[in-house]
């Protein structure tokens, strides 16, 4: 059916959101994340997989001098800015207290067309026992998509470790509007 008016477009977009349709101008973003603890820091490995169309838009954004080619400076500046923007959008709480995530190292574009970012937050003063963690992904609110929470099945129980509490929900795992993950940090005696 052809679209006759912008009103029909609004209508169809509304339906698209409700119907989880994929024929949409909205670019979904798939994400993969993994928490770990090392040297008193909570580490977050955060990978984003964009659509080809979104990658093209990003190339346009990176190409600040508009010459159609990406210099190392342009890409480095882009990924640094993106990491800082993500750090603002990714909210973390431990035992109800907010913890600020900071980008560590350079973001890596990789062969699977993903962008890998690393963040860390200091875990100072955590006593032995279980500590409730909450991760709210503000980026997923802007750019919805499926996600995968990678877990280290071989974590050493004698070391401080992260245990997921959020059960994969088939209704939301495929396309979360706003990703919220609950976990525990277990500090051994």
């Amino acid at each position: 059916m052809k679209m006759r008016t912008p009103a029909a477009m609004i209508f169809s977009l509304w339906l698209a959101v409700h119907g989880r349709a994929h024929e949409s101008p909205i670019d979904h973003v798939e994400r993969e994340l993994e928490f770990s603890v090392k040297d008193g820091q909570l580490l977050l490995d955060y990978r984003l997989r964009f659509s080809d169309r979104a990658l093209l838009m990003q190339v346009g954004e990176m190409d600040t001098n508009g010459d159609g080619r990406l210099s190392e400076q342009e890409t480095a500046a882009y990924f640094t800015a993106q990491a800082a923007k993500l750090a603002e959008l990714l909210k973390l709480q431990i035992d109800g207290h907010p913890l600020a995530l900071k980008p560590t190292g350079a973001a890596r574009p990789d062969i699977k067309l993903t962008q890998a970012y690393q963040f860390c937050a200091p875990l100072t003063g955590l006593r032995a026992g279980r500590h409730a963690g909450l991760f709210v992904d503000g980026h997923s609110r802007m750019y919805p998509g499926g996600y995968r929470w990678r877990q280290n099945a071989d974590a050493d129980v004698k070391q401080t470790r992260v245990v997921p509490l959020t059960e994969p929900d088939p209704k939301t795992t495929q396309h979360p509007e706003w990703l919220e993950l609950k976990f525990e940090i277990i500090v051994p005696e």
Partner: protein, 648 residues
């Protein structure tokens, strides 16, 4: 097939199967930690031993073109199973060549070097060494098209001068090339491929073989090799009907006005004029049904040429073949021939075979007054609702169709048909259709239908629908889509009741669209709240001006697109349009261009022109990706801005 009894007991076969499965699973799991070379070496070993390789091919694919370069080292003409598996790896990993070069440079530097630097040609030759083999693995044609354009073009050029070309191999390669071109995947060698294909058309030994000749004609069309038009026109006189059919199809595709957004400047007027005499000759003299079917489809390339319209009208009278008539009516839908009404008229009174249905579809594209009597006659003759007829009646917008449509609506239980009937009523002006729509809105409980009726009510400001819209907008038990649509519809009313309702919603949006309502997804709530502000702004509430800007800035790309579409619909300017034109999110940019073109094209003309000249738009146009016709929207917006009447 002979089935032999098993030589081993069932328990052994089960255990053996599980063991093999476990080995494959372990191999794949381990692949993540192994080098490209180790994966390829294992793949070679498995293939040489006659064992399945699909899991290892998948593992190698994940490694990108670096794995293909390793695979090329192991290609051996004497090991066909191995070569097949290795060419599968090469084909899969080289599919990335379709990506824009800068993306490739950033994410897959190895592939960038092979495809976009002069030294890459040597690597391509390694990847394509199988081209010179006596027998090709089945996976080779697709692999070399993707991975090795330079040696593939060289091979095609060699065949072009060969007195005894290998037609079997050529057909396989041309088929793979066609798929690649049709997906707009070629980035680096389109001209070289076009020229090589043209060179092939000069090889008489090749064109003497009808299946290869047909494959070449298809490939020329797929590659848009318009340089080969003369060859195609000659082939349209071929003795074999199947060759003529392929030539006519290629002719139509080669001279068609560009549909690909990146080619809009390429009008092909001269080529169309050159092909016209042959087209008209065929329309007059051709009798083969297959050729005529292709001819009818090709006609749409001469979108506004009256001579083609006349020829097609005469052809419609001359032939009884339903396929040709249907193809002709499909073509009519896309053209502006003066004879289009006469052709559709004939289709409407056709005895059957689906021709009338296509004619009704053509009416929706060309709702000409002269077609009204025939459509009304069909309406009267049908007892049960006919979807194509409903659409045609709605497109014509003639009030005399209302009795039949209302009669069908009264007895209709199928939602899809109800939606069509509601659309048709919406398009027919007057009080009768307004009353019918209002009545349907007031009594319908079907969410999708109610949502559509809310939109219709808002567009036509149906007086009797206002109380229902107010109720729906405030009904927290109603689906959020309906409530949002009702809110937006209220913005189209000037009555106090509508203002009062929107004020009430706007004072406490959290009461009506609570953020903690588990049944609502956050983005829907955002959109609903935005629509309250938009509707009040639409009614002239100046206080909403800055609030609209604030919500837009906070919104997701989907919410921003909703806002921009609304502005485009009511053709009103707002500062958010300027910010959208600088967006780096595709949907926001798309919405910004559409809104700028609809609301204030002259004001945004410099921005729109700068956008058109940007490398980004060039990349999007050439990408083959779904751009939602952004470049076309951009052209239309610029055109609107350049029109004298749009000057502010």
């Amino acid at each position: 097939m002979i089935c032999h009894p098993p030589l081993t007991p069932a328990w052994f076969r089960r255990c053996f199967t599980h063991l093999v499965g476990a080995c494959i699973a372990v191999a794949v799991a381990c692949a993540g930690e192994r080098s490209d070379r180790e994966i390829i070496e294992q793949l070679v070993a498995e293939a040489d031993a006659g064992r399945p390789t699909s899991e290892l091919v998948e593992a190698a694919k994940e490694r990108g073109l670096a794995a293909a370069l390793v695979a090329a080292e192991f290609l051996d003409e004497q090991q066909p199973a191995r070569a097949q598996a290795l060419y599968e790896v090469i084909g899969l990993t080289a599919n990335c060549r379709r990506l824009q070069p800068e993306i490739l440079r950033l994410y897959q530097p190895a592939a960038y070097r092979v495809f976009h630097t002069p030294e890459g040609a040597n690597a391509q030759r390694q990847l394509a060494k199988g081209l010179d083999w006596k027998a090709w693995p089945a996976a080779l044609p697709e692999a070399v098209v993707r991975a090795a354009p330079v040696p593939t073009v060289e091979w095609l050029r060699k065949e072009a001068t060969d007195a005894a070309p290998d037609c079997d191999k050529l057909r396989a390669l041309l088929k793979s090339l066609g798929w690649w071109f049709r997906a707009y995947s070629e980035r680096t060698a389109l001209t070289a491929f076009q020229e090589a294909l043209c060179a092939l058309s000069g090889n008489a030994a090749l064109t003497a073989d009808a299946p290869t000749d047909i494959a070449l004609l298809h490939a020329l069309a797929d590659a848009q090799a318009v340089q080969a038009l003369d060859f195609v026109l000659i082939q349209s006189r071929a003795h074999a009907a199947e060759v003529r059919a392929a030539a006519v199809e290629a002719m139509g595709r080669l001279v068609a006005p560009p549909t690909r957004e990146g080619d809009l400047a390429q009008t092909l007027d001269a080529e169309r004029a050159r092909a016209l005499p042959d087209f008209l000759r065929l329309a007059r003299d051709e009798n083969d049904a297959a050729v005529l079917g292709k001819l009818a489809t090709a006609a749409e390339s001469w979108i506004a040429e009256p001579r083609v319209g006349q020829a097609m009208l005469e052809l419609f009278k001359r032939v009884d073949d339903a396929t040709t008539q249907r193809n002709l009516l499909f073509a009519v839908s896309k053209t502006r021939w003066p004879q289009r009404g006469a052709i559709i008229q004939r289709g409407l009174v056709s005895p059957g075979n689906g021709v009338t249905g296509v004619a009704l579809e053509a009416v929706t594209f060309h709702p000409l007054p002269e077609l009204v009597p025939a459509v009304l006659a069909l309406l009267e003759s049908q007892k049960e609702a006919q979807p194509n007829l409903i659409d045609a009646a709605g497109a014509l917008g003639d009030a005399r169709a209302l009795p039949a449509l209302q009669r069908w609506l009264a007895g209709e239980r199928n939602l899809a048909v109800q939606l069509k009937l509601a659309s048709a009523l919406e398009n027919i002006p007057g009080e009768t259709s307004a009353a019918a729509l209002t009545d349907l809105l007031n009594r319908s409980a079907e969410p999708v239908l109610v949502e559509q009726l809310c939109r219709a009510a808002g567009e036509r400001a149906l007086p009797g629908a206002l109380p229902t819209l107010c109720e729906l907008a405030k009904d927290t038990t109603a689906p959020v889509g309906i409530r949002g649509q009702a809110v937006w519809a209220l913005g189209g009313y000037r009555e106090d009741a509508a203002r009062a309702c929107l004020d009430q919603l706007g004072r406490t949006p959290e009461k009506y669209f609570p953020a903690d309502d588990a049944s609502l997804i956050p983005e829907s709530i955002e959109k609903a709240r935005l629509l309250i502000v938009l509707a009040r702004w639409r009614q002239g509430d100046a206080a909403m001006d800055s609030e609209l800007g604030r919500l837009f800035a906070l919104g997701s790309p989907a919410v921003q697109l909703t806002c921009l579409n609304a502005l485009a619909e009511i053709r009103r300017d707002h500062p958010v349009i300027a910010s959208a034109l600088g967006a780096t999110d595709f949907p926001v940019l798309l919405g910004g261009v559409r809104a700028a073109g609809a609301a204030a094209p002259a004001k945004y003309l410099p921005r729109l022109r700068a956008l058109r000249a940007s490398p980004l738009i060039a990349s999007l146009s050439a990408s083959g990706l779904d751009t939602w016709r952004l470049p076309v929207a951009l052209e239309n917006a610029i055109h609107a801005g350049e029109a004298p009447e749009s000057t502010p």
